[in-house]
């Protein structure tokens, strides 16, 4: 056993003798079919990880093209129609095919059963079905793209999507419909697993906070996604059969579409961010060697976010003709939803206080999350207040705001989680210094990309246009330069994580000295996780328990 270096907690086995266990979920079966027909939640998680990475880079390529067009004020790279297709594809792919499944379908799929002490998710076949539905959704999206694209924006706003466009709206809509069912099934599986399959002694308040936040996100998936599904079915019917539920000329109301759409799509923001918050709880606790401050408050704040999240949707519609009174109520509720998010941030800060903090890569990403999410969240409060919203809606301020939450928040959390659990998933360590470099690069690139957009938006540059007045150029050039740096920051992990699969140091069972059940089993885990189901007799994040356990292990072995 190597002696820990003073400024790190990494605790790797002796590399000259350490071996990856011969029997694990990767070596259990061979052949492509054993992966494509697997019921093992860990293998499905890996399948998801590969597919969402693929779509992330396609979505990222469109982001690059958008920034390239906006390098100059003149519309010189592509025509306005093509530009519309770019940002639509960027939105659809990033939201429905990357952000929504990112943490739940990969890390959640892999670790929730292990964390609660179960052998698998409750419904392994439905889990696999969810991945196939995801793939069908992804294929339909690519079909829409190859056939010539779609230019509704990811919001499918009526009557634009029903009357004014001749692009592949129905193909893209069915992609989202199918991908939606994939996320319903993931959520359903998590809820049942967490309710019914916890190990003996694993009470609700002994679960890691990662489970709590995924549970809250699952509730949103299960309740919200069907409403999106019906809204999209109605849009498709309107295009196909021409019936006027959203068509004012036939007595329909386009605003009804907005209500139905945002009833899902606002909670979808929390579907995307909540699992990320769960990752941050795990990482912050592990790398400051302290129980998460106010565990119960953090757990319930996830549920509170899920609950409040359902009652703020109309803040997307303040300028679209909802009544002043409902705007007032929704503005107030929007401010309220900031409270549980703030509870989390404060509790993480208090967890850090007097902790033994070390700065491994996941922790760097977690710090990035805390800063960037706070900026994103606070600008959300700006936008929730009615007067500011009318000035800032449909400007780059909005774009910067939700990218701070989604990219600065969620993507940072996703990468924190991927690095944190990489040793468990693959049995090998990622290269520490390179990954720290990539964390810092992403952080710098991100701020360089999106900070100027706050200013641009405040100055009045509207979103979704491919040209702009020349006086905005300096900030746009900064933003495009930042996007390049950001792109490099995101490319690096793919390369060095791929490299580490073969050449990384052997990680051992518990390189971080973390307390979760997943760290008490071998890495990579066995096909059914546990040989015997553990009895949980300690609280979550109990580092004294871990110390005691390890002392005992040494004495019995020695």
């Amino acid at each position: 056993m190597s002696t820990p270096i003073s400024n790190t907690i990494v605790n790797l086995p002796d590399q000259s003798t350490a071996r990856i266990p011969k029997k694990n979920y990767i070596t259990a079966e061979d052949g492509l079919l054993s992966w494509l027909l697997t019921g093992d939640h860990k293998r499905i998680a890996i399948l998801y990880l590969i597919s969402i990475t693929f779509f992330f880079f396609i979505g990222g390529a469109f982001a690059g093209l958008i920034r390239l067009e906006l390098l100059t004020p003149q519309p010189d790279l592509v025509s306005s129609d093509t530009y519309n297709k770019f940002f639509t594809m960027h939105g659809i792919i990033m939201i429905f095919l990357f952000l929504v499944p990112s943490v739940p379908a990969t890390l959640g799929n892999f670790f929730i059963p292990i964390m609660v002490g179960a052998r698998d998710l409750a419904f392994p076949k439905i889990n696999l079905l969810s991945w196939y539905l995801y793939l069908i959704g992804g294929t339909l999206t690519l079909t829409a793209l190859v056939l010539g694209g779609v230019d509704t924006g990811w919001t499918f706003t009526t009557p634009l999507s029903t009357h004014y466009l001749n692009t592949h709206v129905i193909t893209a809509a069915s992609a989202i419909f199918v991908a939606g069912f994939s996320s319903i099934f993931t959520g359903l599986n998590f809820i049942v697993t967490i309710h019914r399959m916890r190990a003996p002694g694993m009470t609700w308040f002994r679960m890691p906070l990662f489970c709590w936040s995924n549970y809250a996100a699952s509730i949103l998936m299960v309740l919200g996604t069907p409403v999106l599904a019906i809204a999209i079915v109605l849009v498709a019917l309107e295009r196909l059969v021409g019936i006027g539920v959203f068509d004012p000329s036939k007595g329909g109301d386009p605003l009804l579409f907005q209500h139905l759409f945002w009833f899902y799509s606002h909670p979808a923001v929390y579907i995307m961010i909540l699992p990320g918050m769960g990752v941050i709880s795990e990482v912050i606790s592990t790398f400051s060697r302290k129980r998460v401050f106010g565990y119960t408050a953090v757990a319930f704040s996830s549920v509170a976010i899920a609950l409040f999240g359902f009652f703020v949707w109309a803040h997307h519609m303040f300028i679209m003709g909802v009544s002043n009174y409902s705007a007032l109520v929704f503005s107030l509720l929007t401010m309220l939803v900031a409270v549980p998010s703030a509870i989390k941030i404060f509790n993480w800060a208090f967890t850090l206080q007097k902790g033994s903090i070390t700065f491994e890569t996941p922790m760097l990403y977690a710090f990035g999350f805390m800063g960037l999410f706070t900026i994103g969240g606070l600008t959300g409060v700006f936008l929730g207040s009615l007067g500011m919203d009318i000035h800032l809606t449909e400007t780059y301020f909005i774009v910067a705001h939700f990218h701070y939450v989604m990219v600065g928040g969620m993507l940072m959390a996703f990468l924190a989680g991927i690095h944190f659990w990489w040793p468990k998933m693959t049995g090998r360590m990622y290269p520490e210094s390179l990954s720290k470099l990539s964390a810092v690069t992403s952080f710098i690139g991100f701020n360089l990309t999106f900070m100027p957009q706050f200013i641009l938006g405040y100055m009045g540059m509207p979103r979704r246009y491919h040209a702009y007045p020349p006086e905005y150029q300096v900030l746009n050039v900064l933003s495009t330069a930042g996007a390049t740096v950001l792109g490099i920051g995101f490319m690096m992990p793919v390369l060095y994580l791929g490299w580490s699969l073969k050449y990384g140091a052997i990680a051992g069972n518990n390189p971080w000295q973390a307390t979760g059940l997943e760290w008490q089993i071998q890495s990579p885990p066995l096909t059914e996780n546990f040989t015997t189901i553990p009895i949980v007799d300690y609280e979550a994040y109990d580092y004294e328990w871990l110390e005691k356990k390890q002392r005992e292990e040494v004495t019995t072995v020695g």
């Binding site: 049942v192 069907p226 059969v241 019936i243 006027g244 329909g252 109301d253 546990f530 015997t532």
Partner: protein
């Protein structure tokens, strides 16, 4: 650090006294856990179904408030006898389904098969009646789209069915199309759920015939029962909201 499982605790689960069912999936600790997980999952799925239909019920609520006269006039053109017959048929089908669940629990194989067959037959009867209702709507030009005609609502006295009813102004009469769209979307989505249910029934009947559910493993029958009753309940909301709510005899 040993690569073996670090968390070792004493074996706690008592050995099962009875024979383990072949359907028991090994990632569940006990059969009870498997059964509970299955039915809990089904209830959650039904919750998503409620939200799915909820979008359409919301649209119905909104437009009924906006276009009340059109909704009254259009609702009165629905065929109440057929709707009532269908309600009775569907409740009967649900009754046989409930008996089927009971038959599976008391392990009576033949009774279970017959109950599933009756459930299927009444389900098909419902769809048959629905076909004739849709056909009637087609003949009356009440299917939204290019062939839709508001003539019956603007000139009610020209038609035997609507003689004596108040005429609607042309712009309000146009709104009856919204009613019929919602009618077709809601009953159509309901019928789609019935069709999926009937396909599942064929499969379950075949498995019941092979005796899979007569040895203590009843979860699929139970869970399908939940689904089938859910489809019933959706109809029990659709029927009064679409057919009955504005029913007034012609004075």
């Amino acid at each position: 650090m040993a690569n073996a499982i670090a968390t070792t605790h004493d074996e706690v689960h008592e050995e099962h006294e009875h024979i383990v069912l072949p359907q028991h999936r090994h990632h569940f600790e006990t059969e009870e856990q498997q059964r509970e997980a299955g039915s809990f999952g089904m209830w959650l799925f039904l919750l998503t179904e409620i939200m799915f239909f909820g979008g359409m019920f919301f649209a119905y609520l909104l437009y009924r408030n906006w276009y009340y006269p059109a909704f009254v006039a259009a609702s009165n053109q629905l065929n109440v006898p057929m709707g009532t017959a269908n309600t009775a048929i569907l409740i009967t089908s649900g009754f046989f389904m409930a008996l089927g669940v009971w038959a599976a629990e008391v392990r009576k194989k033949n009774l279970l098969v017959w109950m599933l067959v009756f459930t299927t037959l009444f389900g098909c009867a419902f769809l048959g009646v629905k076909y004739f209702e849709y056909k009637e709507k087609y003949e009356l030009h009440h299917i939204p789209g290019s062939s839709f005609s508001t003539a019956m609502f603007t000139n009610p006295d020209n038609y035997a069915e609507t003689k004596g009813r108040p005429a609607l102004a042309p712009d309000m009469a146009e709104k009856t199309q919204i009613f019929f769209f919602l009618y077709f979307a809601m009953t159509g989505m309901h019928a789609l759920h019935m069709i999926i249910g009937i396909v599942l029934l064929f499969w379950l009947t075949w498995r019941a015939h092979r005796g899979e559910f007569s040895a203590g493993y009843v979860a699929p029958i139970e869970n399908f029962g939940l689904y089938w009753h859910f489809v019933d309940i959706v109809w029990l909301f659709l029927f009064p909201l679409l057919y009955l709510i504005n029913r007034h005899p012609i004075h």
